[in-house]
């Protein structure tokens, strides 16, 4: 068994894992509390936000709404009931969709996951490659151009970039489809994972796969732009820090090809800060989805979060908050694990 695997299965690691899981539970409860209190502090009324102009003037309709969503109970009771239901996996019923929040999340999360994972993959592949290229060509024309491009990626507002990309690549050039997850009238393959590309492949529906993959290109590319810029800059910086170290010079002196030196010796040493930024990239994707999903008509968690917030849909707000918190904790956990994988010194510590 490789050393790093032994390290992962050691007692300190199990303790570390236990601590993280305990933190996950505590943070989850904390998140629900904060989301609950903040939503209640907003000087608005969920009934006013969800009932029409006539229904809100009808006491019977307002009472029916409040009773249905448990808003007629005192706040501490509402929160206690929420936690009680949470234990059984019941996240409540959304006031905007009239469905269980769990059903909503199971529909929207895969859509966002498909978009986010594709975007992250694009960002990592491009960002790290361009960062390395920029570093090894330091201060040459390639480096200058890449620095400008990466600065552009970080600086451009996502909503603007999305509209420009839609106009250029969809409207003018017609290279890719515009909005939605599939072409109009194309139905998704039977639900297995909720990821349309994967489900289409599993069902052997190649036409659906092609449609889903085409529709992913533009929104995932736009969502990746910021992270490509970020990762390019951090990778360049991290690589430059180690590229002239003695052990790198020694590798070169041994006659190893430059490509091997960079990929095997330089990149590995430069990886910890890149992994840290990779964790941040997930955060950027989660925030970016709200705008990108809106512009590309992508029915994901970002749009759901936006509508939940604007209609004071407390169960949905809590559900989304919990989901995002879990994603952050899991990503940070994976980042910590990866530190240990790439750098034995951290594992020992």
């Amino acid at each position: 068994m490789p050393g790093w695997q032994l390290g992962l299965l050691s007692r300190p690691f199990v303790r570390f894992l236990g601590r993280r899981l305990a933190a996950l539970v505590l943070l989850g409860i904390g998140i629900t509390f904060v989301a609950f209190v903040l939503t209640e502090l907003v000087p608005g009324d969920p009934a006013a936000a969800n009932l029409g102009q006539r229904a809100i003037a009808d006491p019977a309709a307002v009472q029916a709404f409040r009773e249905h969503y448990g808003l007629d109970k005192p706040l501490p009771v509402q929160y206690a009931v929420y936690l009680e239901h949470l234990v059984t996996g019941d996240l409540g019923q959304s006031e905007q969709s009239h469905r269980p929040v769990r059903s909503d999340l199971s529909e929207f999360v895969p859509a966002t996951a498909e978009l986010a994972v594709t975007s992250i993959l694009i960002a990592f592949v491009l960002g790290i490659s361009l960062g390395i290229l920029s570093a090894v060509r330091r201060n040459r024309l390639t480096d200058q151009v890449l620095r400008v491009i990466s600065l552009g990626g970080i600086s451009m507002p996502t909503f603007w970039l999305a509209l420009v990309a839609l106009y250029v690549f969809f409207f003018k050039l017609g290279w890719v489809p515009g909005s939605g997850r599939l072409d109009p009238g194309v139905l998704p393959a039977p639900h297995v994972t909720g990821l349309y590309t994967i489900d289409a492949l599993l069902a052997g529906q190649f036409d659906v796969f092609v449609s889903a993959a085409q529709h992913l290109i533009l929104p995932a590319g736009v969502l990746a732009a910021y992270n490509v810029g970020l990762l390019t800059r951090f990778t360049r910086s991290a690589v430059l820090e180690v590229i002239n170290n003695d052990y790198v010079q020694a590798a070169r002196a041994k006659g190893l090809p430059e490509r091997t030196v960079v990929l095997r010796h330089v990149l590995r040493a430069a990886l910890p800060p890149i992994i840290t930024v990779g964790g941040l990239a997930f955060a950027n994707v989660m925030t970016g989805t709200v705008l990108v999903e809106s512009i590309f008509g992508w029915p994901g968690i970002g749009q759901y979060a936006f509508h939940s917030a604007t209609t004071l849909d407390l169960p949905a707000i809590m559900g989304v908050s919990l989901f995002v918190a879990v994603v952050y904790i899991v990503v940070n956990f994976l980042v910590d694990i990866l530190y240990g994988v790439v750098d034995p010194r951290i594992r020992v510590a």
């Binding site: 009324d45 006013a48 249905h68 809106s294």
Partner: protein
């Protein structure tokens, strides 16, 4: 090692290039739908496909396509209800009893005949669910003397009933099937009815389409109903997609949709030279208005009638129309121009800064400062309320009135507005049904009147006119009464009607019948090719 990895990298690179090439070769964004698929882009406010629960714009489009109503309107008309499921109807002279004779040849999409029992079930379910559209049948009892007759009995004279009945929320469901899936029309249905989830997966109506798939966030797919009793719709399949306006603008030019519903007048203006599109811009039914709170507990300044007149004269109405763009008009009263009882442009309020300053001087209030509440994040028909509020602020400043803009997000602004605590308010009223009775809410003691601090008894002559108009059964007389009410509102009331923004519908050249109707927005079954 590097030498070994090179071929592998080449294989990987080739694979990536091949996948990209295949994806590109398999078509691009120009996936033009076939002639028999209608793609409609709409920014969703969708909540449900259950007709007795929906009261949103998107939900209305869907319910209109899936469910038939006793009466309907033709095309863009909303002035003359015509029979649909009913073969005829009569109204009693006191406008309290409405008798509908039903056609006997109508079947639901599963082949079951539609009877009066289904109508009674649907209407009672709407009432007892106590949802957003329940008010439509407030004070109305539903009965069925026989299998092909339905009688609606109103506790008070209600001449608006024939204008309410075409609303898609009064779509008739297959009672037997809906009951079998948890539906009930009994009192307590707000707690015991559980059919909504079922109706979000399957339609149980007799409309021109049936529900193929439903999502509140992505798209709704409809397919033609083989058992539909009317003319077969031109489009076999309808796809209604949730798309934001900026993307709709790009899509409609690219030809990936046939109809775009949410474009603003400005956006539609950019399409004027596009010969492959048809742009229909007409005054919409929403009325944007300003009010000054009449309640002295809310403000010592705003109830002053001279102060209110100063506001009335200081508003540069033409500039609001210009701001709203194509299709918009100045609204002379609170009833929109296409409804019975609407005023004509001759009654338009006039901008006169000199008079405004004179009225302010007559009010005895020097250097007044008031707060203006409005939904700061809300845009409708392409018009941002924040922009409108700034314009009001500038207009009133010119007359010597200082306005503090106290806008807030709509979910919080609504609470202040509905509580009647705004000193000045900038809001809109959209019609619940196309009848002037819907606008009696502006009178003292009524829904919107109270929001402007105008309590019952504040204007007895106007209130008496309101009672008379609401119970009048002869349309010409009703129309005149509503005109009289609005003229009096314009001189004595705390409301300042501003504009009816343009309602824009953009369709590709070949699409016919894409007409805007205030009751259901677009009838997809009426679209032809």
């Amino acid at each position: 090692m590097a030498a070994v990895s090179r071929p592998r990298n080449r294989v990987l690179t080739s694979l990536v290039v091949a996948v990209a090439a295949v994806l590109a070769a398999c078509g691009s964004g120009s996936n033009t739908p076939s002639n028999h698929v209608l793609v409609v882009d709409k920014s969703f406010d969708m909540k449900t496909a259950d007709p007795q629960r929906e009261f949103e714009v998107s939900g209305g489009i869907v319910a209109k396509a899936l469910y038939s109503t006793l009466l309907t309107f033709k095309g863009s008309d909303s002035a003359t209800p015509v029979p649909l499921v009913a073969s005829s109807y009569t109204a009693s002279s006191d406008a309290k009893t409405f008798t509908f004779k039903l056609r006997t040849d109508i079947k639901f999409s599963d082949g079951t005949p539609l009877t009066s029992a289904d109508v009674v079930f649907s209407f009672n379910r709407l009432i007892n669910i106590k949802g957003n559209p329940s008010f439509l049948l407030s004070g109305i009892a539903v009965s069925a003397p026989d299998a092909s007759t339905v009688v609606l009995t109103s506790s008070t004279p209600n001449p608006a009933v024939p204008f309410i009945i075409p609303n898609p929320a009064l779509g008739i469901v297959n009672s037997k099937v809906v009951k079998a899936h948890g539906g009930t029309d009994q009192p307590g249905a707000d707690k015991s009815d559980t059919a909504e989830a079922f109706l979000n997966t399957t339609s149980e109506g007799s409309g021109p389409y049936t529900l193929k798939s439903f999502s509140t966030t992505s798209e709704v797919d409809l397919t033609a109903n083989p058992n539909y009793f009317g003319s077969k719709p031109f489009y076999n399949t309808v796809v209604i997609r949730n798309i934001q306006a900026p993307t709709q603008l790009i899509d409609i030019q690219k030809g990936t949709n046939e109809i775009a519903i949410d474009l603003s007048s400005d956006q539609a203006g950019t399409l004027s030279g596009n010969t492959s599109l048809q742009v229909k811009a007409s005054p919409g039914p929403n009325v944007f208005f300003l009010f000054a709170n009449d309640n002295p507990k809310i403000s010592k300044i705003t109830p002053n009638k001279h102060f209110q007149n100063a506001i009335r004269y200081s508003l540069d109405y033409a500039s609001y129309v210009q701001l709203a763009g194509a299709g918009a008009i100045q609204t002379p009263g609170v009833v929109p121009s296409m409804f019975l009882g609407a005023l004509t442009p001759a009654d338009n309020a006039q901008f006169d800064l000199t008079k405004a300053k004179a009225e302010l001087a007559a009010s005895g209030i020097s250097n007044p400062t008031v707060n203006l509440g409005f939904p700061s994040d809300f845009t409708l028909n392409g018009i941002s309320f924040s922009t409108l509020a700034q314009k009001v602020q500038a207009n009133l400043q010119a007359a010597g009135i200082t306005v503090n803009l106290t806008g807030s997000p709509i979910s919080t602004a609504l609470a202040d507005y509905r509580a009647g605590t705004e000193q000045l308010g900038l809001w809109l009223w959209g019609p619940d049904y196309p009848d002037p009775n819907d606008y009696l809410v502006f009178l003292p003691g009524q829904l919107v009147g109270l929001r402007a601090g105008w309590a019952a008894g504040a204007d007895p002559s106007l209130e008496a006119l309101g009672v008379q108009a609401s119970s009048s059964t002869e349309n010409t007389a009703r129309g005149k009464l509503f005109q009289q009410i609005q003229r009096q509102l314009n001189t004595d009331g705390p409301f300042f009607p501003l504009i009816q923004p343009g309602q824009v519908v953009v369709a590709t050249k070949g699409v016919t019948g894409a007409d805007y109707n205030p009751t259901w927005t677009i009838d997809v079954a009426g679209a032809g090719g």
